[in-house]
Symmetry: C2
Subunit: 352 residues, 2 copies
DNA sequence: GATACAATTGCACACGTGTGCATTGGTGAT
DNA sequence: ATCACCAATGCACACGTGTGCAATTGTATC
């Protein structure tokens, strides 16, 4: 049988208000009865009913987190970051997967709304600015990590990495290693995947600065997963002249690509240098260890949670959520064996 | 402004009961008003307040999931499995991390209790049977995936893989490949880690059946993470005679070990065959691709969710949760390049 | 036309908690 | 002794929803 404050009140011979005040450390209660009731409460195994409390206080100490797949190592690291600060501030995380489809993302948000979460954090949102229209409907701040759709205008509360700069760093590194034929394997191209597009932009800039004309044939499509990397490699291998280096949308893609390259007898980095993106935990354990652009995943999660917290506390104050709060976090290049220590950088035919 | 059924009732000119019935498709309502109210509801942007509903219905359609770290690929796959069936049955997942400490695991469960979750799924629990004592306190069924502490007796509601069999499969495979000096790198040894112990048992059995006397020096300690695998390799490398094969507690450990081996100039599988456990998504993309014992991770999650669902529906019926429902799922060996295609299996000194 | 009955709706309470206001008891000052 | 005041407590309502029971209306039967 669940014990409520009424039960405690009854056995203590006081009103339920007194119990409520005692457990909430109200100053309106004598220390004597406060102690007595607190003891009684945990003798009886009392656990406060958060639902009832939230019903009256209007907040739930809960945030919803929407991911595409928790299976993606990048996602799970970000989620862990969110968890960390959420824990710190006594917030609880409700997790939903959108499975990459905008419909399910909407459904998830609707569900969170009916659970009356105090805020929502969305990772790699596909519907980005859509939240703007529904803002007052949702009635809780929404923070987006890596907004993937900026078609309908920028969304004000976002955490993003400087994807352009990341792409630039990766490509410049390869240029500095002496590469001139550098390919790019994109992320999922569905809709309007701005992060991949921005990385491509940075890559182009680095090439141009080095006096290299970007070659459209060297930009091939991936999907953010290993199998996309494998397919991309096969595309590249079908070219007349293989590139000497590849910059991949993310580490998973790079893994698939390296795997496919290995099967064809190419060795990395001698025949083909590879750069990834994300710096997932396993990147350094690949063979060869993968050079990659590191995103501060946990920090991004923490920052997102902090932004949500501050938006939540503002909410009552200013009716219009005034200040846009965009955080741009920096990424950095982590150099590992997949790009360094080569001699010969001249192009090579496949199948050797 | 949040709109409630009372608001709808007011503008529709009916009582809130009527609205409630209309939205819940009660048969006590005329189809005419039912339609009218439903239309009105979504014109007004109504979203049912789950909290209030749960307060009266006594269930929340919510399950809590406690993991050690969501960062672990094994965990995230299981969680995804849980999510899948949870979604199917309109259940919501609250995620908590215990960070491997029993205290935080307890705290998480207490939090879930106060959120009135209908059930709890615990992955790799460190406190296992402790739940038994607190069962009536928690007042919601607890299902454990991979119970790691069976000291205080078996816990009735568990999903476990046949770890003994898995260990047996791995070791037998190596024996069949001609190996005779086979090492085992354990998981975290803290407390009473039964899964690692069971895998070790299966490993021993396979060796004995092949007439090989298990050598205690060849069993070294890991921690379930890549760095533990690296350390374990250094231990093995310090032996007079290197083993020709290693069976690792999990894939992460195997990755670390292979990495360390590579640095020493050993090549896998020629100098050292390696078998992992779990079959994480990346295992097939390592080089060489990792032979491993595959656990049906998503299925385990789904099965756990199903078990939870059935326990929840039973709960009202029989006061004592009578039937123990232990599910033992089978694992299977996935053979990849890290163990096959070798010629020479004679022991070798390190550093060659 | 009276009666029985079915269909539809409203009333009132419940779930567990928080809180403004009134009430009570006690204490000190005049 | 009277009054004022403060500390401690209880009363009653609110949060948003569901539901048993009574009330109302409409309809069919005799």
């Amino acid at each position: 049988m669940r014990v409520s404050i009424k039960d405690i009140a009854r056995t203590a011979g006081v009103s339920h208000s007194t119990v409520s005040r005692a457990l909430n450390d109200s100053s309106l209660i004598s220390d004597a009865t406060k102690d007595r009731i607190k003891c009684l409460a945990d003798e009886m195994g009392y656990s406060p009913n958060t639902l009832a409390r939230s019903l009256v206080t209007r907040y739930t100490n809960t945030v919803g987190v929407v991911v595409t797949t928790i299976t993606d190592p990048f996602m799970s690291e970000v989620v862990q970051g969110i968890q960390t600060t959420a824990d710190e501030y006594d917030y609880t995380v409700i997790l939903c997967s959108s499975e990459e489809t905008p419909e399910r993302e909407m459904a998830a948000v609707e569900m969170l709304r009916s659970k009356r979460v105090d805020g929502v954090i969305c990772i790699a949102s596909r519907i980005g600015a859509v939240y703007l229209e529904h803002q007052e409907r949702i009635d809780a701040p929404v923070v987006i990590i890596n907004n993937h759709n900026e078609r309908m205008g920028r969304y004000p509360h976002t955490i993003s990495v400087d994807n352009h700069h990341g792409g630039y760093l990766a490509a410049r590194h390869l240029v500095q290693q002496g590469d001139r034929r550098i390919a790019y394997v994109s992320g999922p191209v569905a809709v309007n995947h701005s992060s991949s597009r921005d990385r491509l932009g940075g890559y182009r800039q680095a090439l141009m600065e080095a006096g290299i004309e970007p070659e459209p044939a060297l930009v091939v499509e991936g999907n953010g997963c290993p199998d996309g990397g494998e397919r991309a490699f096969r595309h590249l291998a079908a070219l007349d002249e293989l590139p000497t280096a590849v910059f991949c949308y993310n580490d998973m893609t790079a893994m698939g690509l390296m795997h496919a390259a290995g099967r064809t007898g190419l060795s990395v980095p001698e025949d083909l240098a590879v750069v990834g993106y994300d710096d997932i935990p396993l990147a350094s354990y690949l063979s060869p260890p993968l050079t990659t652009v590191s995103q501060p995943k946990a920090e991004m999660g923490q920052e997102a949670m902090r932004m949500t917290l501050s938006l939540m506390s503002e909410e009552g104050v200013s009716e219009e959520m005034s200040g846009t709060s965009e955080a741009l976090v920096q990424c950095r290049l982590v150099t590992r064996a997949s790009t360094v220590g080569r001699q010969d950088k001249s192009p090579r035919a496949v199948g050797g």
